[in-house]
Symmetry: C2
Amino acid sequence: MSNCSHCIMKRFNALKTLTHDELERFSDHKTSLIIKKGENLMTEGNSINGLYCIQDGKCKLTKLNTNGKEQIIKFVKGGDILGHRSILSEEPVGLNATALEDMRVCFIPKGDILESIKDNPQFSLNLIKNISLQLSHANTAISQMAQKPVKDRLAETLLSLEEIFGVDNEDCIDVILTREEIANTIGTATESAIRLLSNLKKDGVIDLLGKKIKILNKNSLKNISEGY
Amino acid sequence: MSNCSHCIMKRFNALKTLTHDELERFSDHKTSLIIKKGENLMTEGNSINGLYCIQDGKCKLTKLNTNGKEQIIKFVKGGDILGHRSILSEEPVGLNATALEDMRVCFIPKGDILESIKDNPQFSLNLIKNISLQLSHANTAISQMAQKPVKDRLAETLLSLEEIFGVDNEDCIDVILTREEIANTIGTATESAIRLLSNLKKDGVIDLLGKKIKILNKNSLKNISEGY
DNA sequence: TCCTATAAATGACATTTATCATTTATTTTT
DNA sequence: AAAAATAAATGATAAATGTCATTTATAGGA
């Protein structure tokens, strides 16, 4: 089995401040698993007894509304960690994590995490910073959901998707989402999302190649996202 | 000057886990101040070099949108603390804190807070839990802003205001907000908020006594907030 | 207490967004 | 490869929400 000490994924997350000994302990206790597209890594309301470190693959974090609609709160990719909020706050998981493609993830038991939190203040601080940053993003999202029209939110979301996932060899945003998932991200009806995407294409701001989306004019999208 | 060891406010927040010695240190270094209605305790983008402990009075936490609109993210009252997120994440303050009425607050310098964080793991953990809980609420808010109609969000907000501030001796929600502030909480136009409040009154669900709002039928509001 | 400024309320109307129905395209299964 | 299932696209229409204009009420200052 692979070794946490040599894993490059920890470069990208809070695990980077762990000592060699701590990483060896993680290696000894961790399990690697494959999550198939569509499967859940975490489920809203369930408890979790460890931390997931994403090796490869993408997932969406969602919340089911009282009216049965899915709201996508955040996208997660290789190098990100999941489950630390629940471990730290000793509360059930608040969001569903559903694989958008096949994923490889490592699972590190809660006990090892808590031990490092106790022994390694820098590690704790990194986890706190991670959660603080999420809170900061969430507050921005509240404001935008509440006050920006759907068109602006779509533009914003496309920019942010490219920011998160980058582009493939054809300059398309490197993630495959259904129109429904895009709609569930910006908080609108699927038909509205489709119509607004078509308009953006007609205006030459983006190109649509099946499910792949290519941003042609980033400045224009930025303006739209700010209401111009 | 008053003494942190004897202050009952710490019962309500993360400071409750501090030792007597730590509280004495806080007492020695803290400053008490009065914030007048309308004044800012914190300002978006500014840095902050300490933690505020609210003794008395209420404030709103807001974010200014790119379009110039104010979004109210959260309400804060006596017993709450402010500024710990910024201290922990070493980032500028993300929200404005504006007094809704005259406030009495204590300011504890960053150095003392950081020392307690280092020495007192239970204190750190309480701060983390506080931030985690805020994140959890924020995610719920995103989902509701994105997917619920304005009427539902108004009902939800009225219930939550009564939850936070309680009722006065006439059973009215114990906080004075302008219609514009209510609109900025639920994310709608002031006129829409006014109209929906009038409708709720006409339907006998609430009563409007000037700026004071009395909830007459909590169950009915709960149903409305869930789309029935 | 009156005057002025600000907030609340309401109507008319425009715009945005959702819903329903249907067609067309794309995947998936057999 | 054909059939079936699912997703995307589009039109027609309804519903929700925002904007502007105006009136009425309330609060704060001279």
